[in-house]
Symmetry: C2
Subunit: 201 residues, 2 copies
DNA sequence: CTTTTATTAACACAGTGTGTTATTATAATT
DNA sequence: AATTATAATAACACACTGTGTTAATAAAAG
C-alpha cells in the first residue's frame, strides 16, 4: 500500500553525506540538520531513517568498517607471515588521510560511549576490534613457530593491542612525531623483538 | 576603584564545580549554565572568568594536571630504578576511579583538539606529556645501564609512549579486560623485555 | 558623596537533538 | 477508477547549547 523506497540504500546515502561533512569539518559539525541538507532532504525525513543521532553515527561507523573490511579482504597479503602480520596491523593505524578521518571519528565515538547511553551498549563491540585482531596475529605467529620461546603469549596479546591503539592515537594527535614511517618502524621493531633472532632476514 | 575579587581563586572554584559535574555525568553535561549553577553564580558571571567553554575546560585540565604533579612529587619513589620507572608510568594510567575520570576527560579534550580551533593551539602541549615522560624513563634506564644492549633507544621511546597511552585508553574503554592488575602486568612485562636478563631479580 | 570600573545579571541569537503532528505520495484493495 | 492504508516527508514546538551584548550592581578611590 505504501510507497516503497530502499531503506538501506537511503541510509547509506545519508551516511555518505554525513561522511563528507565529517571529512571536511569534523564530527560535531555533522548535525542532523546539516546532514539532511547535504543529503538533499529535510531533517524530519532523515529522522525517519535514523531516529537518533548516535544511531546515525553508529551506522556510519559500521558502514565504513565494512568498507574497510572489504578493502582488506581484496588485498593480497605477503607470503612471509611476519610481513603479513605487519601489513594487517598497519591497516589499523591512520597512515593515510582517509584512515585518519576514520580513526578520529572512531576514537571520538569510542570515548563518547563512556557517557552516552545509546553508545554504551555497543561499546564492547566497538572497542574489541583491535584486541581481537592483535590476538589473532600473535596466534598466527605462534602457530608458525616464529615467536621466541621466552615470550608470554597472553601478555603479548594485550601488549600488542595496546601498542597498536597507542600508535593509532599518537599518529592522529602528533603526526609530526608519529609519521607513517615512524609508526611502521615501531610496529616492525616490535614484531622483531618478539621473534627468534634466527627467523629474521 | 572597582570591587576586587581573587580572580584565580574563583576560577579554581569554578573548575571544581565543573569537575563535580564531569565526574558524575560526563564532559558534555558540563555546560556553562550547569557549571554556573553548580558554582553558585549566573552564566554571565562565569563568562566573566572564562570567556569561552574551551578556555574553561583547558583551565580545568591544567588545574588537575598541576594537582597530579603535586601528588606525584610528594610521592616517594623506589630506590630500584626499574621499579621507580614502573611506578612513574603507572601514574599515567587510569588505575583508580579518580584517574579514570581525569584520563577520560583528557582524551576527550585531546581528540576535540583535532577540530576545535581553541584547543588546536594547545594540542601539542597537551599531547606531549606521555611522550616526554616515556623519553625520560628510557633515558634513566639507559643511564643506569639497565637496558639490554640490543635495543634501539629512539624506537623504544616511541614504543613506550604509544604503549602507555594505548594501555591508558584500553583501561578506560575495557576495564573488564584491562584491569589495573593486567595493566601493571603488561607494563612490568614490557620493562622486563627491555632489560638485560642479568638485571632482573 | 561622587566617580570609576570590576563584577554580575538578564537578555537575544543562532544552533543543537529530540519529539509530535500534519501532509503528501504511492501501492494495494475494492 | 476510486478508495484506502500507510510509508515517506515536512513543518513545527521544546528545551537545551555556546556565544555575544547590554544594562544593572557593588565597592574602592577621589
Amino acid at each position: 500500500m505504501p510507497r516503497i523506497v530502499n531503506h538501506e540504500k537511503k541510509r547509506k546515502s545519508i551516511a555518505e553525506a554525513a561522511w563528507n561533512i565529517i571529512k571536511k569539518e569534523g564530527t560535531e559539525k555533522a548535525s542532523i540538520r546539516r546532514v539532511a541538507i547535504e543529503a538533499g532532504m529535510s531533517a524530519g525525513a532523515l529522522r525517519h531513517y535514523f531516529s537518533t543521532k548516535d544511531e546515525m553515527l553508529l551506522f556510519i561507523m559500521d558502514y565504513y568498517l565494512e568498507e574497510g573490511k572489504k578493502r582488506s579482504q581484496s588485498k593480497s597479503w605477503s607470503e612471509n607471515p611476519l610481513q603479513a602480520v605487519e601489513e594487517v596491523l598497519l591497516e589499523l593505524v591512520p597512515i593515510d588521510e582517509e584512515k585518519k578521518i576514520e580513526t578520529s571519528v572512531w576514537w571520538i565515538l569510542a570515548l563518547q560511549s563512556l557517557t552516552s547511553d545509546t553508545l554504551k551498549e555497543k561499546k564492547d563491540e566497538m572497542t574489541n576490534g583491535t584486541y581481537e585482531l592483535a590476538n589473532s596475529m600473535i596466534e598466527i605467529l605462534v602457530l608458525k613457530g616464529i615467536l621466541s620461546d621466552s615470550i608470554n603469549v597472553k601478555l603479548e596479546k594485550s601488549r600488542l593491542a595496546a601498542l597498536i591503539d597507542g600508535l593509532s592515537i599518537h599518529a592522529l594527535l602528533r603526526p609530526d612525531v608519529y609519521s607513517p614511517e615512524k609508526v611502521k618502524e615501531v610496529i616492525r621493531y616490535h614484531l622483531e623483538t618478539l621473534c627468534n633472532e634466527s627467523q629474521l632476514n
